[in-house]
């Protein structure tokens, strides 16, 4: 009885907030919207970060384990990349699925070009990158990741957009970094492929710096990262942070770290180490290691608050119930939270005053104030994983 009453109150409150955030003329902007992946149900929630509410759910998106999202440059459409090769286009305003294709058997992520006209997807099977017209989802280019004398096909990871209508990605099995220029693809031109070179053993993810200059691939098979300076012509690969764990036995990794949440703050880069319970700190000027911060577990994401003052870190199974906050000036951990089992992702609001954290096994999103480090609100969400806010639309590499 009381529960029913509470539910009704909750509903009323939600309706009220819904009304409060929508304008009387029914118009609204999209700069405070976002998408939350509901991993198990093949659905996503459309959320807004001003009143911190759920606006609606879009279903029928297939297998969303390891799903990711990019946004159109007008921040109206979300492109959702599913594990099963699904590429779905969602209208955030009408909250409808407006396009969906199955473009491969097994995909890992995607990117949108600088001009917003192309959406690229990196695939495991068949290994390669496929590029689509962002408007219609019609195919415009297909790049097979074939490497080595025997012509094997490689899984592709770490796909990012780079300035000039280009995409950069890494071959997991092939150990190489490639770049494709697809500026003319939409008007019938051919993609121009550059095999930049050998990255090292088992690159597992990649990032591009916010200025679009450096592409960095993390290596599972080696202690070090491969870096490409895209301002050089032709671009070449350099090894950085080589042998960062020299002589130490690696710990098992129960979940691969993600570099997409890489952090550049105060002239320093922060990376999750692999096989060590550490965040690595490098000088952003010369990419030399300047420190390591001991952490609670194997870091998965190490994400900088937009102003760079803090780094928020989550961890791999079985220590994934915890989040730690690094204070950048002192390189000290200033807070350790235990939101609950399976903290999968974190996303800052556009200017970083709040962070949303998905706690999968609690079916909850926790929202923290990043200044007071206090939880301000929780939202019930079914098995939440990735959280993506539209502000990503205007950032290179996101």
């Amino acid at each position: 009885m009381i529960a029913v009453f509470r539910k009704t109150l909750q509903l009323l409150a939600m309706m009220f907030l819904g009304i409060a955030t929508a304008r009387a003329d029914g118009l609204r902007g999209t700069g405070d919207l976002g998408v939350v992946i509901e991993r198990a149900g093949g659905s996503v929630l459309i959320v807004e970060t001003t009143g911190q509410t759920v606006l609606g759910r879009v279903t029928g998106l297939g297998d969303l384990s390891h799903a990711s999202v990019v946004f159109s440059r007008d921040e109206r459409y979300a492109y959702v990349f599913g594990r099963d090769g699904g590429l779905s286009k969602i209208d955030l305003l009408t909250r409808r699925l407006v396009g969906r294709i199955i473009q491969s058997g097994n995909a890992i992520g995607g990117a949108i070009s600088d001009d917003g006209r192309l959406v690229a997807v990196s695939n495991y099977t068949p290994g390669g990158v496929r590029i689509f017209d962002a408007k219609t989802l019609a195919p415009v280019a297909d790049i097979a990741a074939i490497y080595g004398p025997a012509g094997q096909r490689s899984k592709v990871v770490g796909l990012v957009d780079a300035p000039g209508g280009r995409f950069v990605f890494s071959l997991y099995d092939g150990g190489e970094i490639w770049m494709v220029d697809c500026r003319l693809c939409i008007d019938g031109g051919k993609p121009v492929l550059t095999r930049i070179g050998r990255a090292g053993k088992l690159p597992y993810d990649g990032l591009i710096t916010g200025d679009g200059r450096f592409y960095i691939a993390g290596l599972f098979g080696e202690d070090g990262l491969a870096m490409v300076d895209l301002w050089q012509d032709p671009p070449v690969i350099r090894r950085i942070m080589d042998g960062y764990g020299k002589g130490e036995a690696k710990l098992p990794v129960y979940k691969m770290p993600h570099l997409e949440g890489w952090a550049l703050a105060d002239g320093r880069f922060f990376f999750p180490a692999i096989g060590r319970h550490e965040v690595l700190v490098a000088d952003a000027g010369n990419f030399r290691e300047i420190g390591r911060i001991k952490m609670h577990g194997q870091p998965v994401f190490a994400m900088a608050r937009p102003d760079g003052r803090q780094i928020w870190v989550n961890f791999a199974h079985p220590l994934n119930d915890t989040v730690q906050v690094i204070d950048v000036p002192s390189l000290k951990i200033v807070k350790t939270f235990t939101p609950g089992p399976a903290v999968l992702h974190m996303e800052f609001t556009p200017r970083g005053e709040q962070v949303w954290i998905s706690v999968r096994d609690k079916d909850r999103i926790d929202i923290y104030d990043t200044r007071t480090l206090k939880r301000v609100k929780s939202l019930p969400v079914r098995k939440p994983s990735g959280i993506f806010f539209t502000a990503r639309a205007h950032r290179i590499g996101l």
């Binding site: 991993r39 198990a40 297998d63 384990s65 390891h66 594990r83 099963d84 058997g105 097994n106 890992i108 495991y124 099977t125 899984k155 990871v157 997991y172 088992l202 597992y204 599972f220 098979g221 098992p252 990794v253 129960y254 979940k255 691969m256 199974h317 079985p318 399976a342 999968r360």
Partner: protein, 111 residues
């Protein structure tokens, strides 16, 4: 690497042999079984896909594993596969549980 893998699996099979032959491998109790299936989908799923169709790690569906021995799969689960991201799960998963999981993989999970 292969030699190491084979040695490891032989060792594990030897270790497991009595339990398997006498009791068909001690089957975990229902609540533990549920935990293991959750772990399989969610945490193994982060590399093998939630539906086990494959990801960074290979597919773990019956078609993909056809002809493989449960003991060998259990050995990979317990000790991992050296020089690859497949981590060892010994400590979190017992030998009986690994064998039971391998059996589930070979048979295919429901739905």
């Amino acid at each position: 690497m292969n030699a190491r893998r084979i040695t490891a699996s032989v060792l594990v099979s030897l270790l497991l042999y009595p339990a398997v032959s006498q009791a068909g491998g001690a089957v975990p109790d229902p609540s533990r079984r549920q935990q293991l299936i959750y772990l399989l989908r969610q945490d193994c799923g982060s590399c093998h896909g939630m539906t086990l169709k494959g990801g960074l790690g290979p597919a773990l569906l019956p078609e993909a594993l056809a002809g493989r021995r449960a003991e060998d799969l259990a050995a990979s689960i317990l000790d991992g596969v050296p020089d690859t991201p497949m981590p060892p799960w010994r400590g979190e998963i017992s030998e009986d549980e690994a064998l039971w999981l391998a059996g589930q993989l070979l048979k295919g999970l429901k739905e």
